[in-house]
């Protein structure tokens, strides 16, 4: 299980991608399919992430780097491995012009920051350094000085992300319920 970092102010270096980066590009079908979710599978996912457009990408990304992309990032499959692969590569956040629905929900569900900032691709170049402030909801390009507002998460989304993902929320609820005697008979 990979936990994304939860700091509210992120600073990192940008890797920039275009429009329509799909889940097969992030995590090719033959690498995601049907492993057991163990360390070996995570290694395979990480080493093959983006291989069709950037072979060996995993060797270049450093912890805390940021992924900037164009329209509809993460479209395609429901595969959560695409989200966890970004976390295991070391990314702290994905910032895109827009983000596909399931990819966004999966990010929230694993406690990983995924934010939509229209116009991001015109203000940011690969290698730029960004400061993403999720308290004041500002995005600052430290390389060129440009600053943009970020639309805040809804309260609910914020709560799930800060809990570390929906399974953490689930766990807390189950623990509370167990104290009340629910789920007493183990299935």
């Amino acid at each position: 299980m990979i936990h994304a970092q939860r700091s509210r102010v992120l600073v990192g270096r940008v890797w920039k991608f275009g429009d329509n980066i799909d889940t097969d590009v992030i995590t090719p079908a033959d690498t995601t399919c049907f492993g057991l979710g163990d360390a070996e599978e995570i290694r395979i996912l990480k080493e093959n992430a983006f291989r069709s457009i950037r072979p060996g990408f995993y060797r270049l990304v450093r912890p805390g780097d940021m992924l900037v992309a164009g329209r509809n990032f993460g479209l395609g499959s429901h595969r959560e491995q695409a989200n966890t692969a970004l976390v295991s590569l070391g990314f702290s956040v994905v910032i895109a012009e827009s983000i596909a629905r399931i990819f966004f929900r999966n990010s929230v569900a694993i406690g990983f920051h995924a934010i939509q900032v229209p116009g991001i691709t015109t203000n940011v170049e690969e290698g730029d350094e960004l400061r993403v402030d999720l308290e004041r909801w500002r995005l600052q390009n430290l390389t060129n000085g440009k600053e943009t507002a970020i639309e805040p998460y809804s309260e609910l989304v914020q709560r799930i992300i800060e809990s570390g993902g929906i399974v953490e929320v689930l766990k807390a609820r189950i623990e509370a319920d167990r104290k009340q005697g629910k789920f007493a008979t183990r299935i």
Partner: protein, 425 residues
């Protein structure tokens, strides 16, 4: 103010009189259908420290587990996953577990499980296909399904709805696939991002359930959260043939939009003049009319998937290839979406017709769609009626995948080059 189909179902499921787009609701789930990803649901819970995995399943009569993407298993990895699945199915005491004789999850769901008016979740992005039978279905990841499976509820943001009005009639060689591709070509894959789509108008009513499945399934390629059709005689007729889960049939609650429902956008498509559409590599919205690229040589032609492996699709292929032969050097692969589709094809003589024409017929499943069978080598050119032409989806990243309707695929298989099916039909 009236509500759309999605709004009405969200309101009912969250126990509210009205909801409006943008509102967050905690909705009761009517049904969950999971495939082999259920194993990840179990392990995600365990990995998070929930001892033993999920403590319970909220309603075993509304949860269906299907071993489907790779049935039968093609290698040891898959076989191992299946073994694990059988273990967890037993451990959770599941009532509805389908081990063998499956097919594509969405075909199975529509044949046997989902009902009109339900809010239903699947562990697969094409769960939007269930909208073909007026079910408000959508795909979710494993972590969210873990929550929903224990408590039977999940958070939703009520989506805005786009109304897509289909007028006129499709040419006999065109299908729902052409409409989906056309919409993507015009409006991109971000067309309905975070939104519901309602397909309506005379052109929508005229579509068979199979035609609706193709269009509804592709709601996700259009960015959508739901892809919905209304309930009508076609839906009723289809459900009347259902043989599974009959004890739940009375739970169907067909839902129609209010006459004064508010849509965020209305798009009209005139089917009368529509040309067959093809998406070029490597994206669903890289679309041109077939005439623009006719003549490109192909090596492989495929008909299958949740969107286009249904009986009507196979009948279309047969209509084109019967009594003819696939072009030399072309591999035509046909994969029915379920064993029911396979059997119906067999009874109609379609399988024999396909074999006579030189096609290969595969056992039902997702194999073609993700290159588990029929994998492509670098330089291979494939035209397929499956759902996605992402780079590398079917093998080599240097293969070229074109997406088209079953008719366009069949016409191309006969010609050996991308071809206009209207010249054959």
């Amino acid at each position: 103010m009236g509500m759309t189909i999605a709004e009405k179902v969200m309101a009912r499921a969250s126990g509210k009189e009205v909801v409006h787009p943008g509102q967050y609701v905690d909705a009761r789930i009517d049904r969950i259908i999971a495939d082999e990803e259920f194993y990840r649901i179990h392990t995600a819970a365990e990995a998070a420290g929930i001892a033993g995995g999920l403590p319970d399943i909220w309603d075993r009569d509304r949860f269906h587990l299907i071993l489907e993407h790779f049935q039968p298993a093609l290698n040891v990895t898959q076989a191992l996953r299946q073994q694990k699945m059988r273990e967890v199915a037993k451990r959770y005491g599941l009532t509805h577990f389908r081990d063998a004789v499956c097919g594509v999850i969405h075909r199975i769901a529509i044949e046997d499980y989902v009902l009109p008016g339900e809010l239903a979740l699947g562990s697969d992005s094409h769960s939007v296909a269930w909208g073909a039978v007026n079910c408000v279905g959508t795909g979710m990841g494993e972590h969210e399904l873990a929550y929903a499976l224990v408590y039977g509820t999940l958070w939703f943001k009520v989506p805005e709805t786009i109304k897509v009005v289909l007028s006129g009639r499709l040419h006999a060689a065109l299908s729902g696939k052409d409409v989906a591709l056309y919409l993507a070509g015009q409006h991109t894959t971000a067309f309905a991002l975070y939104k519901a789509i309602e397909f309506t108008g005379p052109g929508a009513s005229a579509l068979s359930i199979d035609g609706r499945i193709s269009l509804a399934a592709h709601a996700v390629e259009l960015g959508g959260k739901f892809g919905l059709f209304g309930y009508d005689d076609t839906t009723a007729g289809f459900l009347a043939d259902r043989t599974a889960m009959l004890h739940q049939k009375h739970l169907a609650q067909p839902v129609a939009p209010d006459p004064d429902a508010v849509y965020c956008q209305e798009v009209r498509v005139d089917l009368d003049g529509l040309e067959p559409q093809v998406a070029r590599p490597h994206n669903f919205d890289n679309v041109v009319p077939v005439s623009r690229i006719a003549g490109i040589p192909i090596h492989q032609a495929q008909v299958g998937s949740c969107a286009n492996g249904n009986l009507e699709d196979i009948a279309t292929v047969v209509r084109l290839v019967k009594g003819k032969r696939v072009a030399q050097g072309v591999r035509l692969l046909v994969q029915p979406a379920s064993w029911a589709v396979y059997r119906a094809s067999l009874e109609r003589g379609f399988i024999g017709d396909l074999l006579d024409a030189g096609a290969q017929v595969l056992s039902p499943g997702c194999h073609l769609c993700i290159g588990m069978q029929g994998a492509l080598a670098g330089g291979d050119v494939c035209i397929t009626s499956t759902t996605r032409n992402f780079r590398g989806r079917m093998g080599s990243a240097d293969a070229q995948i074109y997406l088209a309707s079953p008719a366009t695929v069949a016409a191309s298989a006969l010609a050996g080059v991308i071809a206009d099916p209207r010249e054959v039909v």
